[in-house]
């Protein structure tokens, strides 16, 4: 890629971000945010970081976008259009001056640091010991596996936090219907969902498998799975699960718990998260597969929101 391409891409990123932030209508803002996320994905491709590009497009643009659309729809149903309202001029001027100054300072700091891939030199010689090729996966699941382990519990914790918002009398229960108001749309989603879910599963499984050596991995795959589950759930292919289903709970904790167990088992080999020689790849793949399943389910439920009263009724009489 050329510098001109990079430059134009950067300007587009800034443009879409500005529109997403300041356009009055919330739906337009979210649409531009999703566009912004996809452009960010391109930027990551431009940086030769395919793993991040996949994660950015799938999670940063995809899941976040769906989340925001759903939240906006639910707010709209309550009469809140989430339009951007102006704040006092003085505040805006002050904020503008402060932020502009901050950007200059930050940019100066950024420019004072030469871009280099310093740790790549440290990572590269360690990879053969793991038996996988993808260095990012190596960092995520071996060298910095501890971060990833904790992060998988952050995701689980976020779902618990969302669940804690369930109103009185709605527990245990199902999330509110994601709100495909009109029947034709629902039918489309239904058909699409029947088709998409198995495809998503296969694709996700491949992404995990590929993640060992090629770009991909548990998080990106989990997102694909979540997307499949969501579309299927919207269309009624699968019912939205009640929060107390044991199988659901098991699916949620499976990945993090397996990760934790393997980490602790490493103590036998010398310490937390130590992979015995020769077993590294097998263990990493095991962690990735279980984690991807849990991440998929967790993300789908995060998007769906807390259990709501009356949501156990699968009949599509949404509030819209």
């Amino acid at each position: 890629m050329t510098f001109a391409f990079d430059l134009i891409l950067c300007l587009m990123i800034l443009g879409t971000a500005a529109i997403a932030l300041f356009v009055r209508d919330a739906l337009a803002a979210i649409a531009f945010f999703i566009a912004f996320g996809n452009l960010m994905g391109l930027a990551w491709l431009g940086l030769d970081a395919v793993n991040v590009a996949l994660a950015e497009i799938a999670i940063g643009a995809g899941v976040t976008g769906v989340l925001l659309i759903l939240a906006r729809a639910r707010l709209l149903a309550l009469g809140d259009a989430a339009t951007s309202t102006g704040s006092p001029l003085l505040l805006r001027l002050g904020a503008l001056a402060a932020c502009a100054g901050f950007v200059v300072l930050l940019a100066a700091a950024v420019l004072s640091i030469p871009p280099e891939s310093g740790l790549d030199r440290v990572v590269a010689p360690l990879m053969p010991g793991l038996g996988i090729e993808n260095r990012v996966t190596g960092v995520l699941l071996a060298f910095r596996a501890y971060d990833t382990l904790l992060e998988s519990f952050v995701l689980l914790g976020a779902l618990v936090a969302v669940w804690s918002l369930a109103p009185a009398g709605a527990w245990p229960g199902r999330p509110a219907d994601p709100g495909m108001a009109d029947a034709p749309m629902r039918r489309v989603a239904g058909t699409f969902g029947q088709l998409l879910l198995p495809v998503a599963l296969v694709m996700a499984a491949y992404l995990v498998w590929a993640g060992s050596d090629l770009p991909g991995g548990a998080f990106q795959a989990g997102t694909v799975l979540a997307g499949g589950l969501l579309v299927a759930g919207m269309g009624g292919t699968i019912g939205l699960p009640s929060s107390d289903q044991p199988l659901l709970r098991a699916a949620l904790v499976l990945g993090p718990v397996v990760f934790l167990a393997i980490g602790l088992a490493g103590v036998a080999a010398g310490g937390l998260l130590v992979y015995p020689a020769g077993l590294a790849k097998a263990l990493i793949v095991t962690i990735e597969y279980t984690l991807f399943l849990s991440i998929g389910v967790t993300l789908a439920l995060l998007v769906a929101g807390p259990p709501m009263p009356g949501a156990s009724d699968p009949d599509p009489e949404g509030k819209g």
């Binding site: 431009g46 991040v52 929101g305």
Partner: protein, 112 residues
């Protein structure tokens, strides 16, 4: 880099400075926007800017450092987890207020 354009910036610096601009843009929006959902969006833009700084400054001559890449992926997942929780809180707050409007005796405090 085989361009006739005068190359003032390396690719890495270009993306990193873009990231810095995104941080400032998002921060400005966070301060001036009122609606929490829009603020949440602004926070996501700031996050994306930070990630871009990480990536841009990890851009070597031949490869991008896998270490910041991994940090960014972790960061993206943490961000989506928090965004989901934030969005759920915003919706729930709107619902409680809507429910409390007819009979304003709910023990929920009004927003400051």
């Amino acid at each position: 880099m085989d361009l006739p354009l005068p190359v003032l910036l390396s690719t890495g610096h270009l993306y990193a400075v873009t990231g810095a601009a995104l941080v400032g843009l998002g921060l400005y929006a966070f301060i001036t926007l009122r609606h929490p959902l829009r603020q949440l969006l602004a926070v996501n833009v700031v996050g994306a800017g930070i990630f871009l700084i990480l990536g841009g400054l990890g851009r070597g001559p031949d490869a991008t450092d896998p270490f910041p890449q991994a940090l960014v992926i972790t960061g993206i997942v943490v961000a989506v987890a928090l965004t989901a929780f934030g969005a759920a809180m915003i919706v729930r707050q709107a619902q409680t207020r809507a429910a409390a409007k007819p009979a304003a005796d709910d023990n929920e405090n009004p927003a400051p």
